[in-house]
């Protein structure tokens, strides 16, 4: 029996746990990207519009690294994949993104530091457009390539039951299975002994075939009923790897910011730029490190989405995730690192809930709706201080 009591007001609650888990997994990536926005905003009070493009370049780095290891597109035979290749791809994307982030800061944002915030924002928009359209001239993007699925050694999926399947139904399956196997065996043995084709018009064969099909039908029906009677969540192993890596990276960042001198310097600059400089903190170096860490996180996220989700790459690859991650950062309270993680996960979940309700074509609009509401009613974000900027 299908748990029909779980369909309320046209919403299929049996699909809800799956969507929540998907949202959590996607949200972990948004959280990684959001960290870059929030850290840069914390120290520079600048919305780094080009962060999404750093993410895009990270995904391309992962693609090129996988090509270097022989995972070229449209091969019949792929080389064996291993954990180490993935690790090299991850490190490569993080390093390349860190370098690009530092270059953007050094050559585009640093000269603008004494100008107005709007001037910096326009520069950031310019840098973002330059990477999108300049990149489109050189990077392969039409048709959009994607990282070969075979590079991921953690293939496959596993299921976690939420509501166990109906016991009566599993007995029906058990009861019908021997009958089906017996009929199938009969048919095969008869065919083997007489040397006939399976679809011959011999009356004996036709009779045995019909019997087998009837048994198969009832067995499969029972099996399908069993499968839909419970509620379960299917998780791709690759996505789980993604979540675990994201958690490890975020814990590492938390340690870095809270327990090391560099992190203390970063917090000091974020608290008060000028006083930090007066206290002998090398502000330029702190900003450089902020960009290194933020961009490396985006690189890690990009490598993982490109590899484990297999999304096709274009030079616009970073636009939507960038916007959503920015909203995540604002949602959590921009400048607040745990807030970015929380906001990322909430954004991922919100997006999947929109899909679950049945408005999948609006999944890209939900980010802006959330943003507008959070800015209007709680501009400080969920975890941020709710101070309103004056003047």
């Amino acid at each position: 029996m299908h748990p029909s009591y779980l369909i309320v007001a046209g919403l299929d609650f049996t699909a809800l746990p799956q969507q929540l888990v998907n949202g959590l997994l996607l949200g972990a990536i948004y959280a990684l990207i959001a960290l870059g926005y929030t850290m840069v905003y914390g120290v520079l009070k600048l919305i780094n519009f080009a962060h999404g493009e750093v993410y895009m370049l990270g995904a391309y780095t992962a693609l090129f690294t996988s090509w270097y290891f022989g995972f070229l597109p449209n091969l019949n035979q792929y080389p064996n994949s291993s954990f180490w290749i993935l690790l090299i791809m991850l490190a490569g994307s993080m390093i390349v993104c860190a370098i690009i982030g530092v270059l953007i800061e050094r050559f585009a944002y640093r000269p603008m530091r004494n100008n107005s915030r709007i001037a910096s924002l326009i520069t950031a928009i310019g840098v973002s457009l330059l990477f999108q359209y300049g990149g489109a001239l050189f990077l392969p993007n039409s048709p959009p390539p994607s990282v070969a699925e075979k590079v991921n050694p953690f293939g496959g999926a596993f299921s976690v039951p939420i509501i166990p399947a109906d016991a009566k139904l599993s007995e029906v399956v058990k009861a019908t299975q021997p009958d089906y196997e017996q009929k199938k065996k009969d048919l095969e043995e008869y065919l083997a002994s007489t040397g006939q084709e399976e679809f011959s018009s011999d009356p004996q064969v036709v009779a045995k075939r019909d019997a087998k099909q009837a048994a198969e039908q009832s067995y499969m029906d029972a099996k399908r009923k069993l499968e839909t009677s419970g509620v379960k969540v299917t998780i791709q192993r690759g996505q789980l790897t993604m979540l675990l890596t994201a958690i490890v990276l975020m814990l590492g960042l938390r340690y870095l910011v809270l327990k090391t001198p560099a992190g203390r310097a970063m917090r000091a600059v974020s608290l008060d730029f000028d006083s930090a400089a007066l206290m002998g903190i090398n502000v330029d170096r702190v900003i450089t490190w902020t960009f290194v860490i933020g961009s490396a996180m985006a690189g890690a996220g990009a490598m993982m989405t490109a590899t484990f989700l297999g999304t096709p790459l274009t030079t616009q690859y970073g636009v939507q995730p960038g916007v959503k991650a920015f909203v995540a950062a604002v949602l959590g309270g921009i400048g607040n690192i745990p807030g970015a993680a929380l906001g990322g996960i909430l954004m991922g979940v919100a997006e999947n809930l929109v899909v679950w309700i049945g408005f999948s074509q609006y999944r890209d609009a939900i980010a802006f709706v959330v943003l507008i509401f959070i800015l209007l009613y709680r501009p400080g974000g969920l975890l941020g201080s709710a101070k309103v900027e004056k003047v």
Binding site: L121, Q132, G134, L137, F368, L375, L376
Partner: protein
């Protein structure tokens, strides 16, 4: 009363001159006798309207909005929808219908502008920018998913009806509205909001009303331009109004000078012609010009490098001579760097082998314009100065000062 009579006489003459100028532009276009040039002149007129109306919000009132294409879209779809469904029923056509559609597009966009502006104008600076961008995207996504409006395929078969003078008359109206607004007491309160919100508030300016008014007027003109676009093209689709369109309008405002109407007009004409110019570039064999990847990268890097150098030098230059030397030497650096980097980058094989058609450089040039302008002259080419004939008055009547001279 004599002075009042003269006031209205001058108004009347300038209105007539403006209308005459619009028809003049039309007859020039007809003299060129080519639909290609007509198209260019119409698009330039639409972009002038868009840039000046965005400048009213961004430059004159100081509210940084970057979702202007949304209002353009609302106007275009409103006019398109009504034209498709009601034009034959209403037994109208010709200029009356065109005028009606411009009004409809303007009103639809103004209503949208009011709905979007009222909540979001509580925010400032970069947050306002993001929210306007967000509203723009939401409107585009809604249109894209609405079957009545043609969804992502766009709206086809809009009755085509256009006139060059109408497009430029709209642009002239937009320019005149903004210019005259600036000379009125209302306009001064707009400027006060831009300069210092708290001070303006203390002086009794209703800042919310000023901001929303600017936003509504700006979006109304964008919507009217959209209506003309729909009737000119006979077809509208969501990609015509994407984020890129917003950024192109923003580039025009930023390049011309945030706050300068003259600057926006010049930049809009120049930048709307640029893609067409790139398309017409040809090589020796009359094929579309292909530029090597190495040359493009060298160009981008040397442009950014010399702009950064110029910025540094301008900060230390104290007089005109110093500024001229700085500009001259950075242009020299630009040329030398370009010439030196191109062969160097040609050594990088994938870059040297890549041949790119010149017309694909359009958005790259817009992006570079944004960055370079921000580096060397954040206030734009014309800053806040306007084209005016005041200097004539000063020559002939040296003892009179303009009341609104700032």
């Amino acid at each position: 009363m004599a002075s009042s009579g003269r006031f209205w006489l001058i108004r009347l003459i300038s209105c007539l001159l403006g209308i005459a100028l619009c028809f003049g532009i039309q007859s020039v276009a007809h003299m060129l006798g080519n639909t290609y040039y007509e198209r260019l002149i119409i698009l330039a007129g639409l972009y002038v309207t868009l840039a000046v109306s965005l400048n009213l919000i961004n430059g004159i009132t100081g509210q940084f909005s970057i979702g202007h294409a949304a209002f353009y879209q609302v106007g275009a779809y409103a006019a398109g929808f009504i034209s498709v469904h009601y034009m034959t029923q209403l037994h109208m056509g010709g200029y009356a219908w065109m005028f009606l559609m411009v009004v409809v597009g303007g009103i639809a966009a103004a209503i949208t502008g009011f709905t979007v502006g009222l909540p979001s104008l509580r925010l400032r600076g970069d947050y306002l920018a993001i929210v306007t961008l967000g509203f723009g995207e939401i409107i585009r996504i809604i249109v894209q998913n609405s079957d009545a409006l043609g969804g992502s395929y766009g709206m086809k078969d809009i009755p085509k009806d256009y006139a060059i003078w109408a497009v430029w008359l709209l642009a002239a109206t937009c320019i005149a509205t903004c210019r005259n607004l600036l000379r009125s007491a209302h306009g001064l309160s707009f400027l006060a909001v831009r300069e210092d919100e708290v001070a303006a508030l203390a002086m009794g300016v209703n800042i919310t009303r000023v901001k929303v008014t600017a936003f509504v007027i700006g979006s109304m003109f964008a919507g009217a331009a959209g209506a003309l676009l729909a009737m000119f093209e006979g077809f509208v689709s969501p990609p015509m109004f994407s984020m890129d369109t917003s950024f192109i309008i923003l580039t025009m405002v930023v390049l011309g000078g945030t706050g300068s109407i003259t600057g926006s007009v010049i930049a809009a004409c120049f930048l709307s012609y640029l893609p067409e110019y790139l398309r017409t570039l040809q090589d020796a064999n009359h094929q579309a010009l292909m530029i090597s990847g190495a040359s493009i990268v060298a160009g981008i890097l040397s442009a950014l490098g010399s702009a950064a150098l110029l910025k540094r030098m301008l900060e230390h230059a104290s007089n005109l001579k110093g500024r001229l030397i700085a500009t001259g030497s950075s242009i020299a650096v630009l040329i030398v760097a370009k010439l030196a980097l191109t062969p160097l980058l040609t050594l990088v094989k994938p870059m040297a082998e890549k041949q790119i058609p010149a017309e694909q450089l359009r958005m790259v040039i817009f992006a570079l314009t944004l960055i370079v302008i921000m580096l060397i002259r954040p206030s734009g080419i014309l800053g806040r100065s306007e084209f005016s004939l005041d200097w004539l008055k000063r020559v002939f009547m040296p003892n009179r000062r303009m009341a609104t001279e700032l």
